[in-house]
Symmetry: C2
Subunit: 333 residues, 2 copies
C-alpha cells in the first residue's frame, strides 16, 4: 500500500476516535484515563483459520471486535475502548477497507466504545485483525476461570451449537437437511446461523449479572466442553453436565434427534458460540432467572461443580464421550 493509502485509512478510522486521549490517531501513543482496575484482552482472527476469505468483510470486522467484547462480558466488564491492528493483504481490494471500517464503527458507536489507536500494515499473507479491548469492571469482583467451587451450579446463556450449525450451513449444504426447519422462517434462520458463525456474538447485556453472581466465568469460544474443561482445570474441580439441560435452538434439537449422541457432541464441542458459561451458588438461582427474564434473554442451568477433576456429561442415561474434545480453531475441523 502506498503511504497515501495509509493516510486515507487513518482518516476513515479517525471518525471513531472520539476521546481526547486518542489524539485523532495522529500520535505515537494514546492516553487512557483510568481509575483503579482495567480489564484488558487481546484476540486475533486470521483469514483461512478463523474466517473464510469470502466471508462478508463487514461480518469479519464485527467478529474481530465481538470475540474481544465477549471476553470482557465474561469478566463482568463494560467495554470502553479498543486498539486495532489490521494486516491488510496486498491482494485484497483497498476499497473493502471502507466497508470494514464502517461495520466496525457501527459496533463501536452502538457500544459507546472509543477507538484509541492502532496500526495498519500491508501483508503478503492472509488478512489478520488483532484487537486489544479495554473494559471497566462493573462490580468489585472480576471473575476468573479459577473461581469455581464444589456445590455451585453451572449456567450458560442463550443456546449452544449455533456457531457449529452456522459453520455447517456455511460449508456443507447436504448437512443442512439434518436441521433445517420448514418454511420461510427456516430459511431466514439459516442465514441467521451463518451470520452468527461469520460475525460472532458478544453478550454484553449479561456483564452486570456476571459481575454480581458468577463464581468462575468464561466465554464459550472453543466449545462448551473445552471451555468448561479450562474452568475445571483452573479451579481444580470436576464439572458434571446434563446433556438434556444444554439449551438448543429448534435447529439444534432437530440435529440431535437426527444424529443422536454424536450430534449433541458436535454441538457442545463445536465452538464459536460466544455465549457465557459461569458458575454460581444455588442461592442465586431465582435472582439469575429473574435477571435473564428482565433482559428478555435466556439462561439455562446445565450442571454442577463437584470435587475432583475433568468434565463429565450424561445424555439419556448414558455418558457422553466428551474426552479431550475441543475446538482447534481450524475451519471445518
Amino acid at each position: 500500500m502506498p503511504a497515501d493509502e495509509f493516510e486515507i485509512i487513518r482518516n476513515l478510522f479517525a471518525r471513531y476516535a472520539k476521546s481526547e486521549g486518542a489524539r485523532g490517531l495522529k500520535d505515537d501513543a494514546a492516553v487512557l484515563e483510568v481509575s483503579g482496575r482495567l480489564v484488558v484482552t487481546t484476540d486475533a482472527i486470521v483469514e483461512g483459520v478463523h474466517f473464510f476469505s469470502d466471508d462478508p468483510i463487514g461480518l469479519i470486522a464485527k467478529k474481530a471486535l465481538r470475540v474481544n467484547l465477549s471476553d470482557l462480558a465474561a469478566k463482568g466488564a463494560k467495554p470502553v475502548a479498543i486498539l486495532l491492528t489490521l494486516a491488510w493483504p496486498t491482494t485484497r481490494p483497498a476499497a473493502e477497507i471502507e466497508a470494514f471500517v464502517e461495520s466496525l464503527g457501527e459496533e463501536l458507536d452502538q457500544g459507546g466504545i472509543d477507538l484509541l489507536g492502532g496500526d495498519t500494515v500491508s501483508t503478503h499473507g492472509p488478512l489478520m485483525i488483532s484487537i486489544t479491548a479495554f473494559g471497566e469492571p462493573i462490580g468489585p469482583r472480576i471473575p476468573s476461570r479459577a473461581d469455581a467451587k464444589p456445590g455451585e451450579d453451572v449456567w450458560v446463556t442463550g443456546e449452544i451449537g449455533e456457531g457449529y450449525l452456522g459453520l455447517l450451513a456455511r460449508t456443507e449444504e447436504a448437512a443442512v437437511a439434518d436441521f433445517r426447519q420448514p418454511g420461510r422462517a427456516g430459511t431466514l434462520r439459516l442465514s441467521g446461523l451463518i451470520a452468527h458463525y461469520c460475525g460472532a456474538l458478544s453478550r454484553e447485556e449479561f456483564a452486570p449479572l456476571i459481575a454480581r453472581v458468577a463464581g468462575a466465568s468464561a466465554d464459550v469460544s472453543d466449545g462448551l466442553i473445552a471451555d468448561l474443561s479450562n474452568i475445571a482445570a483452573a479451579s481444580r474441580v470436576a464439572i458434571r453436565i446434563e446433556g438434556e439441560a444444554v439449551p438448543l435452538s429448534a435447529e439444534g434439537r432437530a440435529f440431535v434427534e437426527k444424529r443422536g449422541a454424536e450430534g449433541l457432541l458436535r454441538l457442545v464441542t463445536g465452538g464459536d458460540d460466544y455465549q457465557i458459561v459461569f458458575t454460581a451458588a444455588p442461592e442465586a438461582r431465582a435472582g439469575i432467572e429473574a435477571a435473564a427474564r428482565q433482559l428478555g434473554s435466556s439462561v439455562a442451568r446445565i450442571g454442577t461443580v463437584l470435587a475432583g477433576a475433568g468434565v463429565v456429561a450424561t445424555w439419556r442415561g448414558a455418558a457422553l464421550e466428551v474426552g479431550a474434545a475441543g475446538h482447534r480453531h481450524r475451519l471445518g475441523s
Copy 2:
C-alpha cells in the same frame, strides 16, 4: 499447530507473566491496576515488510517489543506491561518459538515489564507480531506531536541513519565500501549496524528528560524528516533543520563524504533509527545537555521551530531536497 502446541507456548510465556493480574495467562482477560492515566500504544511487524525471513528470531522478538517501547519513551512514559499477539507460520519450525520467547523475556525482565496476556494463532502467511504496550507517564505532561511552538529548539538523541546503514549492510554488500571503517573495530561496527536494523532500539533512559522538557516529541521510526513532518503538520508550524548539526556516526560521516547531499538525504529519510526527536524551549538547553551527559548519552540540537508549515533542511549552504521524503515501511525502498 495442534492444540498441545498452543499449551506448550503458553507455558513458555507464563514465566514472564509475573503480576497477579496476568492470571498466569490462563484467563480470558487480564487485570491491570492503574492510578490515573495510562499511555497505550500498539505496533505490529510483519515478515517481508518490517523484517527479513532469515533475520535472527531473537532480534525479531526484540524489534517487535522495542518499536513499541520506543513510542512510550517518546511520550515520556515508563513501560509496565505488554500484550502480545503472535501469528506463527505453519511453515516455520515451532522450535524457534522457544528462542523467540527467551529473547523477548530477556528484554521484559531487564525492563521490569510484565507480560499481561496475548494470543497465539497459526497462519499460512508471514510471521507477524503485534504488541500492545502500556506505560505510566513519568511527569504531569504526556508530550504529543502537536505541541511544538515557534521559537523552540529541535533536538534528537543518539545518531541518525544507523537504521539505514544497517539495512544497507544487511542487503547491499557493495555499498558497504562507502562507509565501512578500517580494522576489526570497523567490522564489529558493521555487525552492530545490522543488529540495530534487525533489532531496533528503544531509548527508555531519555523518558524522564522528555517528560520534563519536551514540547512535541516522537520517535524516529519512519525517518527523521518524515517524523518531523508529522510534528510540523500536527503542530501547524514549520521546522528548519541544519544538515551539519544532524548527529552521525563515523560510518554516517564517511557515507556523506562519499555520496554528498544524496547520501545525507538517505540517512535522514531512511527510517528505523528509533531515536527520539523533540522540541524544547531555548531556556532548557543547558539542562538537556547536562541530563544527556549524566546518562552517558548524546543529544544534538539540530534545528528550530518556526511559524509556517513543512520541513526545510540546509546543508553546506544549499537546500536539501527533503520534499515528500519518508520511509514506506517496505524493505529495500
